[in-house]
């Protein structure tokens, strides 16, 4: 293996993974604070104020506390599965981020010579993403579908009734909504003609319009299903506090519980990122064709991306503060009888239009 491919395939990805992992952990931790602050704001309260200025260190205190809390494994639980389950949920939630493009392929690393060794390192360009898979979208769907297993197994391994009910609810919910979710992004796929997430964003640039304007129905379906996939209000049945105590993680304490917690928030970020990438032009800035707003181009792409993701996260929290949750059977009914037909109709209409107008290819 020569040096260039070592840098391309091992060194750069490792650096990126390190940065991303650190950032992501921080973002997830502060997402919990954001949630508490925003919901407090909506409820005319202040939210955490005492731990650090304006409660800014709250997530850190929570994290340390959870890690040091006694780790209880119920005596009648299936111990191996009980321990494995949070990990099964957490790992996919993190490795999904490998293909999400936070910004364009625009990082230039100039060529240089390592002094002393006299080795020439070539100039290269890399992007704000760990890798650009040609099946990126498929990868996201595939990996995030594994996370469900952890939830079900966690609920089952607890050997307790409420977690089991929570696990059953989430299994049914996630499997049903995954189908509609898959259908809702078919329109985007047909228009972009690629499964690569980077290429999908580029296709939106070339098309001159974000896909949300060409696929409004698809976007709405995607976001509804995405909220349902992440078990958030108004679809937060698997952990509905007033019904199932704490749902599938009722029997988990301390660190293991926090793993489920992290996975849930990571999943929220994934769904928001996917919505931004597929429908809201990813890292692209708005109004590229209005000369007066040219200064917007000075803001780097990944900041645009972060901003858009934040908007969606805000929606998540807004939903949670406002709406009651659905009942189990109503949720299923909406998934199969409302969202599915609309999603299929959307696919057919898009297919016809793409063929008729000659498509983007």
């Amino acid at each position: 293996m020569n040096l260039d491919s070592f840098i391309d395939w091992i060194l750069l990805p490792l650096i990126k993974i390190g940065i991303l992992f650190g950032l992501l952990s921080l973002v997830i931790a502060y997402l919990t604070l954001l949630e508490r602050k925003i919901i407090a704001f909506m409820q005319v309260r202040l939210g955490p104020m005492r731990v650090g200025p304006h409660g800014l260190l709250q997530p850190i205190a929570d994290g340390i506390k959870l890690m040091l809390k006694e780790d209880i494994v119920p005596s009648r639980a299936d111990k191996i599965v009980f321990t494995l389950a949070p990990v099964i949920t957490l790992i996919p939630a993190f490795i999904v981020f490998a293909v999400i493009p936070f910004g364009p392929r625009s990082i230039h690393i100039p060529g240089f010579t390592i002094p002393g060794l006299n080795v020439q390192v070539a100039e290269r360009t890399t992007g704000f993403f760990i890798t650009d898979l040609n099946i990126g979208l498929l990868y996201v769907l595939a990996v995030s579908s594994i996370g469900i297993l952890g939830i079900i197994l966690g609920g089952w391994a607890s050997n307790s009734k409420y977690p089991l009910l929570g696990a059953l609810r989430s299994a049914a919910q996630m499997v049903s909504y995954e189908v509609a979710l898959g259908f809702s992004i078919m329109g985007v796929l047909m228009m972009a003609g690629t499964l690569s997430l980077v290429e999908i964003v580029n296709a939106q640039k070339n098309a001159g319009a974000w896909y949300v304007f060409l696929q409004p129905v698809g976007f709405i379906l995607f976001f509804i299903c995405g909220v349902a996939e992440t078990n958030r209000a108004p679809f937060d049945l698997p952990e509905a506090e007033s019904e199932l105590v704490a749902g599938f993680h009722t029997e988990y304490s301390g660190f293991r519980f926090s793993l489920f917690f992290l996975a849930e928030y990571a999943a929220m970020i994934v769904v928001s990122s996917m919505a931004v990438t597929l429908f809201w032009g990813g890292w692209l800035r708005p109004f590229p064709n209005i000369a007066a707003l040219g200064f917007l181009g000075l803001v780097p792409g990944f900041l645009w991306f972060a901003l858009k993701v934040l908007v969606f996260l805000y929606f998540y929290l807004w939903f949670r503060a406002s709406w009651p949750r659905y009942r189990y059977d109503q949720l299923m009914k909406i998934g199969w009888q409302v969202l599915m037909p609309i999603a299929i109709a959307n696919v057919i209409v898009t297919a016809v239009l793409v063929l008729w107008l000659g498509g983007s290819r």
Binding site: V51, L57, E243, E251
Partner: protein
């Protein structure tokens, strides 16, 4: 536990102190509470979480109902012997490090419930870190306790925590067990009750015509018609009373018993109170039951509503209702020994209760499954410490997945022996106990209780006192409805409504506080009026409140009235027909949601309610949605009543000028011997009502609140029976939820406004 010596290990000490201060910093900043709420204190805890106080500032708003994920067990309210094992179990399940805050006098030492079924402080079973005094403590006190706990944690040098097993030790409260022996014997009372009078009136005459053989005695006292019949044919009499259009007593208000000890041949009286909605008549029917065979025919097959009331009479007096399908103890623990309301039962005699039993539904489901040859359905235990069960109710369901096939409910986890306590306290001392019945609108309980004693005296209180009672009661009704709607919506997942409901509630608290110094349990009412005159700026405050409350109500309405999800969750859920509701004994908003416009304020008006202009909102289907609409509209109507009352607030005394009831003016006490003696006597003996029995009733926030008072002329009530509205509503609950989903149970329970204090007395 390892304590590191500071002098000897300096280097290690540096590291460990840094680490431990970091850890302690994290632990104290992230105290997630487990709210073990049972009673009034839980409502004050809710106020602590609400916007005015905002527990979230300390990072402690992450309320976890899973004990393994919580750090501090907050025991909010009375823990009785039935709840004890539950508390112990929850505590044992918590992960170390864990702390316990005991909120309020009850959790700390049993409070003023020195009674047969109340734990005299939770430190009998769990170790406590911080005690909060107060009954209930104010939210400031809760915040203070959290800060105190944080200071404790900061000073803690332990890095690891070990589990300490703790033995249960039973404290028996010292109560004057022979208190009844000090009283004059009820001989005069028995003579009074057995005395037969010639009574006029349509019901009395019709009754004499129909059952000439059955009548033992008949009497009218303070407008209450009371008929004593023989117990042998009670079933036939009751059936005729219900079904004959001449009587048409479609609603059985209450079944209870009274113990006359050895003063009478038949020791017990079983007492039925009933109401005819078509004729607007009330009737008290009594049947004497001897001590050697305390049994009588059941009325369950006539009125469904007799079910729990008969069980309660069995529990309290040991009277067997023949033919009752499920005659078990209801309020006390299944291991409890004795029948506490019997006059010879010592008020403070506790029984050690440890076990948790299955309800009959388990056996039923097993039998059914075996007879059908199918797999056993899942048995799911919901409560008493389940977030949707509001801390004190237990439901056990046989479920097929999420669908409920069969259910049974159990109560008594907050049975604090109110009725026994009132028999051991003077008339004035009972008022604070009444505050803690329906603690969400405590003013109204006090008013109703005071009304019963005033009725016993046959006096009317001054107009000003009446108006003060009306205004504050209507505000209490608003506050009650706001909590009910708010918590119901939280149970459905719509969080913010709770906070929007608590803000105006907090402002109502301010008004009450300005009148009497109390927020939640006000104790403002006195027999014969109120404790003191309203403050000078009362009218101004009320006018301001009348303006500030509607926007909050509108906010909640805007969020929910046309909310698709809310409608999906609430429409048609536990819809109940008017006939069924009446048969169960529903009253209040729950009955009105079924379309029956029964409201005591309109039907049997007192306190100038007939002069106020207001409407009675009624629903159509009697489902969760209609109950929500009725409550929201009642809030508006209450505001209308308050507006009229405050504009016409009369001047004059706030206390009745009756030397049997009210203390003489201080000026008189200091200047003449008559007033001084009078003052002494009232303070020494309290008030001494005449011999008799009355039933007084009022439209409380969740239905007809009734007090059946029997007086033997002594300073303590001989018998005080509380007819709580939700007792009759909640007994229908397990029948209503059959065939529904688990999530519907949550929606339904919140909409019924079951308040444990009143339910379990």
């Amino acid at each position: 536990m390892k304590v590191i010596e500071p002098e000897t290990q300096e280097r290690e000490n540096f590291f460990t102190t840094t680490a431990s201060s970091l850890i302690n910093w994290a632990r104290k900043g992230s105290l997630w509470p487990y709210p073990f709420g049972t009673a009034c204190c839980a409502i004050e805890f809710m106020a602590t979480v609400s916007s005015h106080y905002d527990l979230a500032r300390f990072g402690s708003e992450v309320v976890r109902f899973a004990p393994k994920q919580s750090d501090v067990l907050m025991v909010l309210g009375t823990i009785n012997d039935k709840m004890g094992p539950v508390l112990k179990q929850i505590y044992d399940q918590m992960a170390e490090p864990r702390w316990v805050i005991s909120m309020g006098a009850c959790a700390t030492c049993g409070g003023f419930y020195r009674a047969y079924h109340v734990m005299q402080g939770i430190d009998e079973i769990v170790p406590v870190d911080v005690y909060i005094p107060g009954c209930p403590p104010t939210p400031e006190a809760v915040l203070d306790a959290v800060i105190k706990l944080q200071q404790q944690i900061e000073a803690d040098t332990r890095l690891s925590y070990e589990r300490h097993p703790r033995q249960t030790k039973l404290k028996t409260p010292e109560v004057n067990a022979t208190v009844h022996a000090l009283e004059p014997p009820p001989r005069a009372l028995v003579r009074f009750l057995d005395d037969n009078q010639e009574v006029k009136g349509p019901i009395a005459e019709a009754f004499k015509r129909r059952f000439p053989e059955e009548v033992v005695s008949m009497r009218e006292f303070r407008g209450d018609l009371s008929i004593t019949v023989k117990r042998e044919n009670i079933k036939q009499v009751l059936r005729t009373l219900k079904n004959d259009p001449e009587f048409d007593f479609k609603m059985l208000l209450d079944v209870t018993a009274v113990d006359y000890l050895s003063e009478r041949q038949s020791r017990y009286d079983v007492v039925y109170h009933m109401l005819s909605l078509s004729n607007k008549h009330r009737l008290r029917l009594k049947a004497a039951v001897p001590a050697d065979d305390p049994s009588i025919d059941t009325a369950v097959d006539i009125w469904k509503g007799a079910d729990w009331a008969e069980r309660e009479a069995f529990d309290m007096y040991g009277i067997r209702f023949k033919g009752h399908p499920d005659l078990r103890r209801i309020l006390t623990h299944s291991q409890f020994e004795g029948h506490p309301l019997r006059k010879d039962f010592p008020p403070g005699q506790r029984t050690m209760c440890t076990e948790t039993t299955d309800l009959p539904v388990v056996e039923r489901a097993r039998k059914y499954a075996e007879s059908m040859g199918i797999a056993h359905p899942t048995i799911l235990n919901v409560g008493p410490q389940h977030p949707a069960m509001h801390g004190t109710f237990r439901l056990q369901v046989a479920a097929d997945g999420e669908k409920i096939l069969d259910a049974d409910s159990e109560i008594g986890y907050l049975h604090r022996c109110f009725e026994k306590m009132s028999e051991t306290h003077t008339y004035w001392q009972v008022i604070p106990f009444t505050d803690r019945l329906n603690y969400m609108s405590s003013m109204m309980n006090g008013v109703t209780y005071a009304m019963s004693v005033e009725k016993m005296f046959g006096v009317d209180i001054p107009k000003r006192a009446q108006y003060i009672r009306v205004i504050l009661s209507e505000f209490s009704r608003i506050a009650d409805h706001l909590v009910c709607v708010g918590t119901n919506l939280v149970d459905l997942g719509a969080l913010s409504n709770f906070w929007y409901g608590f803000r105006p509630r907090e402002e109502i608290y301010d008004l009450l506080e300005s009148c009497c110094g109390g927020r939640l349990t006000v104790s403002y009412v006195r027999i014969g009026g109120v404790a003191q005159d309203i403050p000078a700026d009362f009218v101004q405050r009320v006018r301001k409140l009348l303006e500030t409350i509607p926007p909050y109500v509108d906010d909640i309405e805007k969020m929910n009235r046309h909310n698709k999800i809310f409608k999906l969750r609430s429409e048609g859920i536990t819809a109940i027909s008017a006939e069924d509701a009446i048969d169960w004994g529903f009253t209040g908003p729950t009955l009105r949601a079924c379309g029956v416009p029964y409201d005591i304020r309109k039907w049997f008006p007192n306190y100038d309610y007939d002069q106020f202009e207001f409407d009675i909102p009624v629903g159509e289907r009697g489902d969760v949605y209609d109950r929500y609409l009725v409550r929201m509209e009642e809030i508006r109507q209450s505001l209308r009543i308050i507006k009229q009352a405050i504009e016409n607030l009369p001047e004059g005394p706030f206390q009745i000028d009756d030397r049997r009831i009210s203390l003489p003016p201080k000026k008189g006490v200091y200047s003449n011997i008559e007033d001084l003696m009078n003052h002494f006597e009232l303070i020494q003996d309290g008030i001494l009502p005449p011999i008799g029995e009355v039933y007084s009733y009022w439209e409380a926030a969740n239905g007809e609140l009734g007090f059946y008072l029997v007086s033997n002329g002594a300073k303590r009530p001989y018998r005080l029976r509380c007819r709580g509205a939700c007792f009759y509503i909640f007994q229908a609950f397990n029948h209503m939820v059959k065939g529904l989903y688990m999530s519907d149970v949550v929606a339904a329970l919140g909409s019924l406004n079951i308040v444990a204090g009143e339910l379990e007395k």
